[in-house]
Amino acid sequence: MSCVNGAVPTTIIVAGLALAGYALLMTALNRRMNVPLLAAVGVLEILLLVQVGIIVAKLAGGERPAGLATLIGYLIATPLVPLAAAFWGLMERSRWGPAVIAVAGLVAAVLMVRLHQIWPVIHV
């Protein structure tokens, strides 16, 4: 039984937590959303899309988790989180914009842990 390499989920967890930490720092320092923060969100989004792609490839190869509907729900929702956070945070012109991004970073990390629980072949 092939396993999804744990490198991608682990990287996402680290990247998500780092993004959350950086964004919270910006909130504490009263900084608004800026381009570097958005770029970091973009990087996280790309990583999440890579992870989704890997999982879709596994599904296409015929493997199935116990809860397929749940997994598909996560696959759809996961890439939407950084996008929604970026839009909502950009609308805010105060320190609370980055706070929204911090939530997205934390959620990304949690999503990786949840994916592992849903389908243990996805290693963390």
Binding site: G73, W88, S94
Partner: protein
């Protein structure tokens, strides 16, 4: 779409552009973060309750119905805090109060009677499966709504005043990740 920015003096040494000195509605300022977290829980609770009820309702009907109820409460809170009108705020106050009562009641019930709650739901064990955020979230929601109730009472929603600054600092310090009094820093005296 962005709220009209009141005249604000630039904060020395902070962000390059002056941030709005006071949030314009319940969905801006710290409300931006609050609505984001509420939306997250509305989505996650709805999905979880939906899957539970659709696939194994007979397994724990009470728990899953409470889970669905929690999802509805989160949706109402998200929408009303997002709308921000005085009527919406009143509904949000009711919703957050029910939410707080709910997480405390269901949390206690799930600990006292685990057989009724074989699977974790949003409010089981005071939301321990979600980092206790469900326990803390309604408190912040109520504090935020209280700030807005006071602000609309003093009638200072448009013109910044010294008393409002004091109240804003008191309300602002209570919630949000920053911790530093964000409202008062940029307020015009």
């Amino acid at each position: 779409m962005a709220s009209p920015e009141p005249a604000a003096s630039p904060e020395p040494g902070a962000s390059p552009d002056p941030a709005p000195s006071r949030p314009a509605s319940t969905r801006t300022g710290p409300g931006r973060l609050l609505v984001a977290v509420y939306a997250l829980f509305a989505l996650s609770a709805s999905a979880r309750a939906g899957v539970q009820i659709a696939t194994k309702f007979s397994h724990a009907p009470v728990a899953y119905l409470l889970s669905a109820f929690a999802a509805v409460v989160y949706i109402v809170a998200t929408v009303t805090l997002g709308v921000g009108s005085p009527t919406a705020r009143r509904i949000a106050l009711l919703s957050c109060s029910i939410e707080l009562a709910g997480v405390l009641a269901v949390g206690t019930w799930s600990l006292a009677d685990p057989a009724t709650f074989p699977d974790a739901t949003v409010w089981s064990s005071y939301g321990s499966g979600y980092g206790f955020v469900p326990l803390v979230l309604p408190v912040f929601g109520l504090l935020w709504l209280r700030y807005w109730a006071r602000r609309s009472k003093t009638g200072g929603t448009i013109v910044a005043s010294a008393e409002d600054t004091g109240e804003a600092a008191a309300g602002g310090a209570a919630h949000g990740a920053g911790g530093a009094p964000g409202h008062s820093a940029g307020s015009v005296g």
